[in-house]
Symmetry: C2
């Protein structure tokens, strides 16, 4: 199927939304945990999460336009901290349910039945059963023309399941059944295939 | 394993780089195709690709610091266009090989054996065998404090394998064996698990 700009403009809106959301491929769903200044917790799934740098350790995610009430965004502005929590086969349906429009007074942890966890005096809640729990401090917000934001944080705290990490620091995410997602609602299980060597011109790749 | 900020600072650099790159989870490797003003082609793999919006159709990717020669970045500034091309089990090793440091006069298409394709007068090359070929026009560059850039483009042209698209616009990426990747070098095959309904408070989820 070949679509140009004007075809896309005239594609029925829900079809276009599904199609365009799927174009960027696999993601990991991350549950983003926040609190407001009074300690009211919020938990919301985001899938557009990126690695930005290793020194300093920076990660980011794309947040939708904040023209309607967006608890995650407001909480991050208020407390400057947030958490990423990887989602497994065991809890991905609870994670998906967190995308429902709960009111500010509702707490997704309670509403869907996810156990929160607090570590090291960090002001945002983690997901207790997640194999990768990351605590971040807000560093930068970049506002994009369509009203979305790239929220960049520095990693302050990491709790990772020992089973996941290899001696060289790499992780095989399939070991803990971390789910892949594409588009708005499509979930995948994964199978480790291989690791490839660092690529150099005119040197054949090998598997690690 | 629990690591705080100072543990991370003292972790051996290669271990930290592997670990931190893996934190953000699964990605799709995208081959980014560009040309300079003279038509010299370049092809490079990027894995931090995000969906930014469906109306207008915006996608972005994180580009490493441009302190050393970065052909993709320079070509995008020169011609304002680039392509994303999804990577399958059949060609992911060729895609990985494109990350080698070829010189400006070398052309990764030729060097690794990937067939380029031109469509509709678009000035950047596509990957002929890719099931998802996306042509984008540069819209915005957001520079992040560590020297990386978020490059945002609007989708101008789409060529998608018919086998991939459902009637509602969604894609099951496992059908064409599109590979998942995490960290710097870890590849996964995927299996479609299910699609979940739109979440609403107090309504049980169903599968589509």
């Amino acid at each position: 199927m070949l679509l140009n700009y004007s075809d896309l403009e005239t594609t029925e809106q829900s079809v276009r939304t599904s199609l365009i959301n799927a174009l960027s491929g696999y993601k990991s769903l991350q549950l983003v945990g926040t609190s407001n200044a009074l300690g009211q917790m919020n938990l919301a799934p985001f899938s557009n999460v990126v690695h930005i740098g290793s020194d300093p350790v920076l990660m980011g995610f794309i947040h939708r336009p904040t023209t309607v009430e967006r608890h995650t965004y407001e909480n991050i502005l208020e407390t400057k901290v947030f958490t990423f929590n990887a989602v497994t086969k065991e809890n991905y349906m609870l994670a998906h349910q967190c995308s429902a429009r709960y009111t500010r007074n509702e707490n997704e942890f309670e509403a869907v039945g996810i156990v929160p966890k607090f570590m090291d005096g960090f002001k945002a809640p983690f997901v207790n059963d997640s194999p990768i729990q990351i605590g971040l401090h807000l560093e930068e917000i970049h506002s994009i023309s369509n009203g979305t934001h790239l929220i960049v944080g520095s990693v302050q705290l990491l709790q990772i399941s020992d089973e996941l990490i290899d001696s060289d620091g790499n992780m095989d995410l399939s070991r803990m059944e971390i789910m892949g997602v594409s588009g708005l609602d499509t979930y995948y299980t994964t199978t480790f295939h291989n690791r490839l060597s660092y690529a150099k011109p005119n040197v054949p790749l090998s598997t690690k």
